[in-house]
Amino acid sequence: MIRALLIACGLIAAALPALAQGTLQDVLQAHRAEVESPSRATVGTVLDALDDSDLPGVATFLERWQDRAVWVRASDGLFFYAEEQDDGSYALLDISTEEPVGTAAASEISEIRPNGGVRREIASALVEFQLADPDPARRRAAVTAIARAMEPEQLAPLAASVEDEPDAALRAQKERLARMLTALYGDTPEARIAAIESFAGETAVDARAILNRIVATRREAAAALPEDANIARELRPGGAIAEDEAYEMLVAEELAPPRVPAGDVLAALTANLADGVVAGVPVETLGDPDARDRAYAALAEAGLVQPRLTDDGIAEALASHAFWDEYVEPDPAITDAAERALSATELKVAAAQSADLALDALSLASIYFLAAIGLAITFGVMGVINMAHGEFIMMGAYTGYVVQQWGWVPNYTVAILIALPLAFAVTFAAGVAMERLVIRWLYHRPLETLLATFGISIALQQMAKNIFGTQARPLTSPSWLGGSWEPSDLISISYIRIAIFALALVFLAVLLFILKRTRLGLEVRAVTQNPGMAASMGINPGRINMLTFGLGSGIAGIAGVAIGLYAQVTSEMGSGYIVQSFMTVVVGGVGNVWGTLAGATMIGGLQKGIEWFNPSNTLAAQTYMILFIILFIQFRPKGIVALKGRAAGD
């Protein structure tokens, strides 16, 4: 209370002379030298004086001062705003009233050029005025500027402007920002702790950044732990702190001699080699590390080389010193509060991150599902193994590329809408041709189907390479699919992935409808369960096989367009998905569309889960995932959704 009174008295005392001076020009003339050639050290006095004067034109002046639009007339030292006119002379405006007061030639006046440091000072002073500006856009800009800078002196004006803020949203923003500044720079520990506690459990990135700033630590080393320091944690060399790093700290604090690199030791020994002997140690024995240590120690004793510690010595030095992390903030109550607030946040952050991971996994799963669902029909339902399935995906993607890039359709949205059915048509035709020409002769020899379709796969891949070249081709998505959906700071997913997810759901529904609710689906199921019996019931198995295979291949084509939107189109893109697709079908359970969905979900989730443990290494994630699948098949050889009874086929 007494302190507040004193501050108030000080303010009044400072304001008195300013009140007496009257106009803005008068205030400036009082500090003429500082205004004319301001430096960072002196500009503060001018700014204080201006602040205290409470004159209406101060904000405008500060803005123009900062923008180098203030001029001084050499003859009388008065300040003006000036605008260049067509004839090269300048129109002068009075600094207090902004009224035109005549013109001046360029030689009569000179521009005031504050340097970068000064302009920053002016800007922060300006913020106070801008916070109360009638224009909401400028007030918002001022709040943003404070949030970026986070200077201690911004706290008071910001807190003062909260009350009078008419805009509710902006007021909340100001209030929050003021709490942040209070947490960092509040006058009393109680105020700071209250502000810190108000952020407990908040997941927003800026709030956590403030808290993390409060609990920032620096690493220290000394002979013993200090009594008075606000210590975050003690570090044990070899444990929380690496031994090398710990020793480097001792060296930096001059508590231990610097480490001599092995190369320098060798150079020193070589330099002191005379008559086959180094400091009394015969050179032949120097292949032994102990002999080297002895020779070097002898040289150091003689003062010829800088002394060093042996490994034992280093261990001893580390053991006899203390290492700790110390909070930059000296008050333990405050850092404790911040740590508490952060740990309250932790759970929420973890939950948000899990949600983000789940979204990622879901999107990966839908991509695997799209890639595998065609295979679920040809391999899962028909039992035909088609190694060229990946190449059908690639054909679909290139169909999309051709539609988009070869200049027929300028609009990307229309191009995609044309590409999807066209890709289906192209790969449907390719699938039917392959079934008629190759696969139908091999229905009784599954292993040979595998090899024949592999032959087709390498031929198709090489042909695509010959036609389109080896470099990756982009498939541009329409602009409304760009960007991403961000429900919170920690969760985001791009719209293209959402679209792929939606497409996967549509496919699931369409396929289930075809297989379960249409005549074709009935015939497909009949032929796959028992071709002989189906044929005797009047179904043509050849036609059904052809159509089923065409359907599976056509879906691969559409998947190709979708995958092309998300990844690059290359001639080898299909081979990257083929093993994963087979795994998806096998893990999910052969002969069942739901199984494929389950398989894709499991594999996508698993891969993202493993990546989460080791985000830098997606190769490792894939490796472990495949190993897991191999083991999984041991326990559920028929997959997650196993067919039962006669439909199982065995």
Binding site: A262, V278, P289, W441, G455, I458, A459, Q461
Partner: protein
């Protein structure tokens, strides 16, 4: 009537004779300067590929397991020998460099120098644990055979005991191969990531011997291994064990009901062929000079199956013919020495179109000539019909070979 081994397998003698003649001819021509060192190396490498193809034929053509992992075993053998070659050679170079200094090096210095030479490309200089035996040739040779063998044993045991068969097994082996190659692609695997191991053509301790001599030595070693492997596998697939193995291919369930331990036989064949594939890799990579994870990728194993299918599976010499024919043709076409064909509107460059031709001819072989090139031999040496010994029918399954085989072969 009991017959001797050679009488039952007339192809063994013929094969050994031709192999010996071929090796001798190449040696003489190389000494006379008619055949370049690089061609000798290509032929030596081809012999190794023939060996792994014979192993593949046994596991696929005789036992019916379409393994898409045998080139991975081959690559593991190559990695094992490559580790010793690289370590020993780097050690020699480092020792020479360090010996030039006035002060003798400490063991730590030598190890660090070798480490930074070998692992400099992946930004490390520490020896990963997998290099623990790299200093010793016998240990690495053992690893070259044991690692593929153990991997095949564990994988095969897991797969066979849960009755994974047919195309599922193929996909599973392919997944295993993919996992292995992805693992090797990582720098963390300790095998230099996608750089692989290089400089393997320099045999430590034999730096003074010219490559022309070394290539001939490896040609002989490869020929010897191929001959021995051929005899071994001819023995495995003949006699009672051979009958059981082929019966497993044709109807696994029936063999199981007859009381044979199907899993044991399959595991034996799978593991034995994996070990032989590792041995082939040991001989192949010092001739190739470099090994990287791409050599282990699933596609290599599929090509192996392609060779065997084109050569004719179910007969050992078929696999040899297929591997030799396709791999030599492939290097001829992709090497750019095949003349381009001018169609008027488009010139077919074989480097671009060879794979298309291979793929399509592969489809054609599967469809029209399931016996492969080896089937041509049936035209000159009609297989003896054995119908008089047979009682009963051959069963209803059209996919099996037992009818054709039963009618043609003892």
């Amino acid at each position: 009537m009991r017959q001797g081994f050679l009488a039952k397998n007339p192809s063994v003698l013929w094969f050994l004779l031709l192999l010996a003649l071929f090796t001798l001819a190449v040696t003489l021509m190389a000494q006379a300067g008619l055949v370049s060192t690089s061609l000798v190396k290509t032929l030596g490498k081809t012999l190794c590929l023939c060996l792994v193809a014979v192993a593949m034929d046994v596991v696929w053509g005789y036992c019916g397991i379409l393994s898409l992992g045998h080139m991975a075993f081959f690559g593991l053998g190559g990695y094992a020998i490559g580790m010793w070659l690289m370590y020993a050679r780097t050690e020699a170079i480092v020792a020479e460099n360090l010996a030039a200094r006035p002060i003798p090096p400490t063991p730590q210095e030598i190890s660090d120098a070798i480490g930074s030479q070998i692992f400099g490309v992946v930004g490390s200089s520490d020896f990963p644990p997998v290099w623990a035996f790299a200093h010793s040739l016998p240990l690495q040779l053992m690893a070259a055979l044991l690692v593929p063998g153990l991997l095949a044993l564990v994988f095969g045991w897991l797969a066979f005991r849960s009755r994974v068969t047919g195309v599922y097994l193929s996909i599973l082996t392919q997944a295993m191969t993919l996992a292995l190659s992805l693992y090797l692609f990582q720098n963390e695997s300790g095998l230099r990531g996608n750089n692989g191991l290089s400089g393997l053509q320099n045999i430590p301790g034999y730096g003074h011997v010219p490559q022309s001599t070394i290539s001939l030595v490896f040609l002989w070693a490869s020929a010897l291994a191929l001959g021995a492997g051929y005899i071994l596998f001819a023995w495995v697939v003949s006699g009672r064990m051979g009958s059981v193995i082929r019966a497993i291919r044709d109807n696994e369930a029936r063999v199981r009901f007859l009381g044979y331990p199907v899993e044991g036989f399959k595991l034996f064949v799978f593991t034995l062929t994996a070990v032989v594939a590792g041995l082939a890799g040991v001989l192949y990579y010092p001739q190739a000079g470099i090994i990287n994870p791409a050599e282990v990728a699933p596609i290599a194993s599929i090509y192996l199956a392609v060779w065997v299918a084109i050569g004719g599976r179910g007969r050992l010499y078929g696999a040899v013919i297929g591997a030799a024919f396709v791999s030599l043709l492939s290097s001829w076409f992709t090497g750019g020495s095949a003349p381009p064909i001018d169609l008027g509107v488009y010139v077919i460059q074989w480097t671009d179109w060879w794979l298309v031709l291979l793929g399509l001819s592969f489809v054609a072989v599967t469809l029209f000539a399931p016996k492969g090139i080896g089937g041509l031999f049936d035209l000159i040496t009609a297989r003896r019909p054995v119908e008089e010994e047979r009682v009963g029918d051959y069963g209803p399954d059209q996919g099996a070979w037992r009818r054709r085989e039963g009618q043609e072969e003892a």
